[in-house]
């Protein structure tokens, strides 16, 4: 069945897709209603799921009077995102119902889950910038409750970093949004990208939007919150954060940026560079983690590198934008399903170790891992081929090197996935592992593994409105997809045989959050430096000349110390503001 554009049933479904989770979230606010919500929570994303499967494209309606008037709908770019979000939210909500059953704060979790879901689904349907921003902010701030759910010191620290980075992102996004809205006068996604051509400095406006959204999408170096926040949340929430919510930033890129309308070579090249950097940088750091969830979080950063590269390329070569948008959409869909399944496995597989052999379970968990590594005939192979073909449209040096680049990145992904399976195995017998047999946990996980594994078959049909996907079944494509996998597995096996250390989870470790840890250390060092520097002044002997010398010499020392302290106690806001003001001035003068 498919819904005709503009049909009444379609419009109702569009409204229901947002209104249903929103009503559940509002009902949750009423304490008496809370206990009746139980099973209904699992249906939160069902209207969106039905809409994703039935709406072909080109459906749009305006809700007049509300907010600044809201335009909602489904279009070819939004549909794959709606599909991935509604699928993941449905699976995660069902999984969470069992996973959280004995959690003392499960009710609080439900509330934040509903609010976050409303935002995450709503932003896919929003067809104007203000509507997108509305749902984006709802998702961002509600997800704080999911991140700090356990209230442990670790979770609170992750929460602080998460909210700090989120505010940085919101600020950049708001600046870009205000500039774009002021210059374009219209914020509908149908007209906004084209309006960039008339901006005095479109690259600055686009840059503000791109980096603002990049915080959510884990763009290096704005990814630092991600390896901290994704792992501390309860497992179903981790799956959502890393699978579905991270894609909100990517969708934002596709919506806001002048894809195919305007060439922004400088910005595009910078983003491509960051994307390529992320592929490898995050993979290296990920392999050095000993917690399965952190490994997956770094894998997400690394995978987002592929998407950033695609988006950057579309800014460099507008003519390639249609192919690149298709590639980014299919990649996002593939990654969301695989990553969701990988996260949910953490709540399932280690527990099986207590009941007998773990190997068959690990083998099932490895199916989405293979997809992520781009093994032949998986969804990953299709996504990578689409990206490779699209990047082939780039100017001279690129087409020749794309094969090697993506191949090397696939080797890195394979190693990361090997590491994931090893840590998963090492996790057997710890925390999650005490869970008794629970069909409510295994069912959703197995279902998602199945959907992800079958994706290779149904992806081309689902993406048809956006463009035609290349067929990845030809022998030469299979060979191209196979060699990185073989090399990666060989490397991983070699490491195991050499040291048996990968398997025991002691490969040598890097702190999760990489750059933020460096920043935190610098702040701590500066704080520590303040008092001793000031104490120096008091140790000066109390003669007149010494006092005079002390005044002349120690004052600068003292002042430096205070300045250091000041710079670290408040947010480095002054700097941020100056940079912002400067950028905006450049943008609009």
């Amino acid at each position: 069945m498919s819904l005709a554009p503009g049909s009444a049933a379609g419009m109702l479904l569009v409204i229901a897709a947002v209104a249903w989770p929103a009503s559940l979230a509002l009902a949750w606010l009423v304490p008496v209603a809370r206990r009746w919500l139980g099973p209904l929570v699992q249906t939160m994303a069902l209207p969106a799921l039905v809409l994703a499967f039935t709406a072909d494209a080109g459906m749009e309606l305006r809700v007049v009077g509300l907010y600044t008037s809201l335009t909602l709908g489904v279009d070819p770019v939004g549909r794959p995102f709606l599909l991935l979000k509604s699928l993941l939210w449905t699976v995660a909500a069902v999984h969470a119902a069992t996973y959280m059953r004995e959690d003392p704060r499960r009710s609080t979790f439900t509330g934040f889950l509903l609010a976050t879901g409303t935002g995450n689904i709503g932003l896919v349907l929003a067809h104007d910038a203000l509507g997108f921003y509305l749902f984006f902010a709802l998702m961002t701030f509600a997800a704080y409750g999911l991140v700090v759910h356990t209230r442990t010191a670790e979770a609170l620290r992750a929460g602080r970093v998460y909210i700090g980075m989120a505010i940085l992102g919101e600020a950049l996004l708001l600046a870009g949004l205000l500039a774009a809205a002021g210059l374009a006068g219209d914020v509908s996604f149908r007209t906004l990208p084209a309006a960039f051509a008339d901006f005095p400095r479109p690259d600055v406006v686009a840059g503000l939007l791109l980096f603002g959204l990049g915080v959510k999408a884990g763009l290096v170096p704005l990814h630092v919150w991600l390896p901290l926040a994704h792992p501390v949340a309860p497992t179903p929430a981790s799956a959502l954060l890393s699978g579905a919510m991270i894609k909100a930033g990517v969708l934002g890129w596709l919506r806001f940026l002048p894809m195919g309308e305007l060439a922004l070579p400088g910005l595009g090249a910078a983003v491509m560079g960051l994307g390529v950097l992320a592929m490898f940088y995050a993979a290296v750091l990920g392999v050095l983690q000993s917690d399965a969830k952190t490994v997956l979080a770094y894998s997400s950063v690394s995978q987002m590198g592929f998407l950033a590269t695609g988006v950057g390329a579309a800014l460099v070569v507008p003519d390639a934008a249609p192919l690149l948008v298709l590639a980014v959409a299919v990649y996002a869909l593939h990654h969301a399903l695989a990553k969701g399944a990988l996260f949910l496995a953490i709540g399932v597989v280690p527990a099986r170790a207590l009941r007998g052999r773990i190997s068959p379970w690990l083998a099932v968990a490895a199916i989405p891992a293979l997809a992520l590594a781009g093994a032949p005939l998986t969804s990953g192979a299709i996504a990578k081929l689409a990206l490779k073909n699209a990047l082939g449209e780039l100017p001279a040096p690129w087409p020749a090197r794309v094969d090697v680049l993506l191949g090397a990145a696939a080797v890195a992904t394979t190693l990361l996935m090997a590491r994931y399976l090893a840590t998963l195995r090492a996790r057997a017998g710890t925390d999650d592992a005490t869970e008794p047999y629970r069909p409510g946990l295994i069912g959703p996980w197995a279902g998602l593994v199945l959907v992800s594994a079958a994706a290779a078959a149904w992806l081309p049909a689902a993406l048809a409105p956006l463009g035609e996907l290349p067929l990845a079944t030809q022998p030469r494509y299979i060979a191209a997809a196979a060699w990185p996998l073989v090399l990666g597995v060989a490397l991983a096996t070699g490491t195991i045989l050499l040291g048996r250390r990968v398997a025991t989870g002691r490969l040598g470790e890097a702190p999760a959050g990489d750059l933020i840890v460096v920043a935190e250390a610098a702040v701590a060092a500066a704080r520590r430096a303040g008092p001793p520097l000031r104490a120096l002044r008091e140790q000066v002997p109390q003669t007149r000349i010494a006092r005079w010398l002390a005044r002349v010499a120690a004052d600068p020392v003292d002042r430096t110390a205070r300045a250091l302290e000041a710079a670290t106690t408040g947010p480095a806001l002054g700097a941020v503001l100056c940079v912002l003001a400067g950028l905006l001035f450049m943008a609009l003068r």
Partner: protein, 495 residues
């Protein structure tokens, strides 16, 4: 029906609806609680009814004018244009809500007749400022407001409140004098003081740019005291020792807002933004407002006393109004005007919440608020909503203001305004989010049983929060603060 809402004496009735009850209450004995409450509520409801009629008229393009000659050549003029209505509607609605809150807050405390009498006079003066049709009428009510507010600030009679009262009077009387000087000088130059959309000074005194620029500085400096424009803001954080309903009214409608509204009138109806930009004073004022926005927020960061943090937040937020109106172009003006209402709704909620916390649990410091969300969920829900509004998150009223201010700034070729707004958002997040985190996510110390504020305190809080949310959520509805402000802007710039 048509005759009723085109009645030109409606502005006068709006004033009398709080003035008469105020006078009667002053004569009442302390024990006549029921009669006093009845008078208060009757006056507040009557005022809303009259304002509602005026609003209906203004929405149908009717402009009210009512004149009363004091002596030859000197007239009290009341007008009802969309700008006046924006402010008087806000004050009428918030007066009713605050009266109910004050009845609950002061239950059983001494000197209530005095309090409610001056409370009514304070609102009368505010309505007079809103409806003033020329600078003379404006300053009459402006000065009346100074003196009607003093007894409210020193109401508790403690050493701290008397000191706050002294500082308040020193600031505002000086400001009033400077304002009067400016007005007299202006009158000697132009021979007229009546408000005209788009300003009258350029036509009335052509070629006097230098003098007019100095007069502008005098007027704005005088008004800037009440509007808490840095460096004239010193009295405001001290005056927060007043009882919660007074602080709420002071920050949302009465004193601070009167100053801001005066600046709007001077820019909009005396000078005109174009002329003020031409002689270079409007951009200066916009810069001062931008500085105030950031300065107020930075000071708010380090305040542990909740009401003080809110007071510095007011310093910052009220200057959005000035910033918007001092910037050339219809969109920025719209943002400034609509923030006049939005800031009032959000800030009164926050002060009500602070009052609830202090009255119910003796909690006055931010550091004491751990886990308070569990004890007072509704109060803290209202606080959270309004704080999100202050940060400027959609779909709250604060976001709507910020959106138009920012777009207007860009369109006027002043992109630094966007940087100021974004910086202010970050700072607002930095001093409001820790409160929200403490309230909802930090483990409670000691008592965790649910114990909400008295219903007379709780309901007004929820009503104000509901209005603040509705102003943003339904901003595009046919009757919203945004639409009334749009009407005003359309009169000047065309639809």
């Amino acid at each position: 029906m048509r005759a009723l809402y085109t009645l030109d004496a409606l502005p006068l009735l709006v004033l009398l609806s709080s003035f008469v009850p105020g006078l009667i209450i002053a004569l009442l004995k302390e024990e006549r609680v029921a009669l006093r409450i009845a008078l208060n509520l009757a006056g507040a409801v009557a005022k809303i009814a009259f304002v509602g009629l005026m609003l209906a008229g203004v929405l149908q393009q009717h402009i009210y004018v009512w004149r009363f000659s004091v002596m030859p050549g000197l007239e009290i003029t009341l007008i009802g244009d969309p700008l006046a209505l924006l402010f008087v509607t806000l004050s009428a609605i918030l007066w009713l809500i605050t009266t109910i809150y004050a009845i609950g807050y002061l239950e059983g405390s001494p000197n209530r007749s005095r309090f409610f009498s001056f409370f009514s006079l304070c609102v009368t003066a505010t309505a007079g400022i809103a409806l003033a049709g020329d600078l003379f009428t404006f300053i009459v009510f402006y000065e009346a407001l100074t003196w009607a507010t003093y007894p409210l600030i020193v109401h508790r009679g403690t050493e701290a409140s008397l000191r706050a009262g002294r500082i308040y009077i020193a600031y505002t009387v000086t400001g009033g004098t400077v304002l009067l000087m400016g007005i007299v000088w202006l009158y000697s130059l132009t021979g007229t003081l009546g408000f005209v959309d788009g300003g009258f000074v350029q036509g009335a005194a052509p070629g006097q740019d230098a003098q007019l620029a100095i007069i502008f500085v005098l007027l704005v400096a005088g008004l800037g005291v009440k509007a808490a424009l840095v460096p004239l803001h010193g009295w405001l954080p001290i005056a927060m020792v007043a009882p919660a309903p007074v602080s709420a009214l002071l920050h949302a409608v009465a004193v601070v807002k009167a100053g801001a509204f005066g600046i709007v009138r001077v820019l909009y109806s005396v000078y005109g933004v174009e002329y003020a930009t031409l002689i270079g004073v409007a951009p200066l004022l916009a810069l001062a407002a931008g500085f105030t926005i950031l300065y107020g927020s930075i000071r708010a960061l380090s305040q542990d006393d909740l009401k003080k943090r809110l007071a510095y937040s007011t310093v910052s937020q009220v200057s959005y109004i000035t910033l918007g109106v001092a910037t050339l172009g219809p969109i920025a003006t719209l943002g400034g005007l609509v923030h006049l209402v939005h800031q009032g709704l959000m800030k009164i909620t926050l002060f009500f919440c602070a009052g609830n916390l202090a009255e119910t649990h003796e909690l006055k410091r931010v550091s004491e608020l751990d886990g308070v969300g569990r004890r007072m969920p509704l109060t803290m829900a209202a606080f959270t909503l309004s704080a999100f509004g202050m940060i400027g998150l959609p779909p709250t009223a604060g976001f709507i203001s910020k959106l138009y201010l920012g777009m207007g700034g860009v369109q006027a070729g002043q992109p630094w305004i966007v940087a100021v707004l974004v910086g202010s958002s970050i700072l607002n997040a930095a001093y409001f989010l820790p409160i929200i985190h403490r309230a909802w996510f930090a483990p409670a110390r000691g008592e965790v049983r649910r114990h909400e504020a008295h219903w007379l305190l709780l309901w007004p809080t929820l009503a104000a929060a509901g209005l603040a949310l509705a102003a943003g959520l339904f901003a595009a509805a046919p009757v919203s603060p945004l639409e009334v402000a749009r009407l005003m802007v359309a009169r000047r710039y065309g639809p």
